[in-house]
Amino acid sequence: MRWTGRDLRSLAIGLAYLAPSLVLFAVFVFIPLGRTFYLSLYNTRATGAFTTFNGLDHYVDLVTSATFRSGLVATGLFAIYTVPIGIALGLLLAVLLNQRLRGISVFRTMMASTIAISAAVGALLWLLLFNPSIGLLNYVLSLIGVRGPEWLIQPAIAIIAVSITTIWLTLGTNIIVLLAGLQGIPEEIYEAARLDGARGVRMFTRITVPMVSPSLFFLLVVDTVAVLQAFTQIHLLTRGGPVDATRTLVYGIYLDAFQNFQFGFASAESVVLFALVLALTIIQFRVVERRVHYQ
């Protein structure tokens, strides 16, 4: 495979078109990723200046740090509370919206409206609903005889409050993706199942769910990655508290880097975050590849 002058010329032209993107990716994605690894091996001052080479000490500290471990637990709980319920709710609403009715698009827009809502706005809306004295959530609960919790003050409940907010914020995306999945199911499959006597719940579990499984799997990965990256709702609802109950991996990076100015240690945490997202993305590509392979 020798490079001819023509090869080089066409490569140069191609690179010229790619250059703006490549330069930006290099400066703001690839080099910073390398620097994150590099920083994680050093002690740093608040100015960001390196002081001493530290080897893997920060990683050893991570493994032994109770705060970091509880942070991973908080992140895991956050994902477990948010992702399955968010997807299930999205699927229910998408089925509801997948009807041929006049004016259905109005309902679709209303239910998908959270895709346009920022995490900051969503967090402020739920901050009001969670408020123990004037919030409507506990008032509604009191109507059915339930004494609502102090949502943002009890540690075990605070992470649930953050999860509820996040479920609401991702609902619009989940609905739209699943609705598109439902619309891709050929009508003949339903016809055939109906002839076989399938109805209601059975139709849903035997036909609908398997047929939208690619969309469900896509959302499983995308929503989990979104939870791993969630910052705003935690910052505005709980600031990582009470007693670190909502100090997830990303929030820990923020606190360690930009409140405690331990850039080296926070960089080691960033490497863990990167590894988790990378693993999830690779799993996604693998599964997609396998499915395409068997088609």
Binding site: S10, L11, L24, M111, L124, V250, I253
Partner: protein, 295 residues
Amino acid sequence: MSDGGGTAIAVSRPRAASVSRPRPFAVRKAGAYLLLAVVAILVAFPLLIALSYSLMSESDIVTFPPPLFPAHPSLDNYEKVIATIPIGRYLLNSFIVSAAVVVGHLVTASLAAYAFSFLVFRGRNLLFFVFLSTLMIPWEATIIPNYMTIRSLGWLDSYQGLAVPFMATAFGTFLLRQAFMQIPRELWDAARIDGASSFRFLRAVVIPLSRPALGTVAIYGFLSTYNQYFWPLLITNQTLMRTTQVGIAQLRFEESLRWGLVMAGVIMVAVPTLALLVLGQRQLIRGLTAGAVKG
């Protein structure tokens, strides 16, 4: 940077999957509308209650039971927001930064997508993989070095610091490449025979034929930038450089939380994105479902 990956596919036309039951048609239809209306109101409830509270006085808000509708609707809270914080300046900042990112995305992504769809050169697939790999790197994992870069450039509290790091987009490049590949190859051959340069072909043929996809990229760029919180929080300190999301969240950290004021601010911040949702719904759905439906 939290764009989804995967392969894009067109969404097929809507089909209904209604399960037929022996019930009068009109009754069934009314029931469907009633259910849709109730669920849609529940989903949009946090927004609706914010709108209602923004029109109430603080003394109405703290009455018990919590009121659903304002007894004496007034725009006082909106006037107070304008008097309390420079919301006009925040909106201006957000629009400048978002517009800059949109222009950046359209330019960098069309150039790159053009190279990936029409130009032939060695290493093209490898470079495309380099682009896609940026989707696996969470922005939060590189935020420490990026903060250092912006600080050393002297770009803290600046529009370029807020916009430039986000001006390239792998997801947008991917979407545009899909659109460009729909353009008949014969047009390209004809243009070459006529002696048109490759850049002229991009400008005169490819761009005008790809308006819908460019619209999708623009709406995505705008929404994701306008709704950012973490990055502008980190790199802006001066009040006059704050963006809307950060500026509005400051109301939450004031000593006495005035809920009517906060909700008025929230509505003012959310209106531009909700308007965009209504106007650009089709483009948004196209973007969201790319990568999801089929693998």
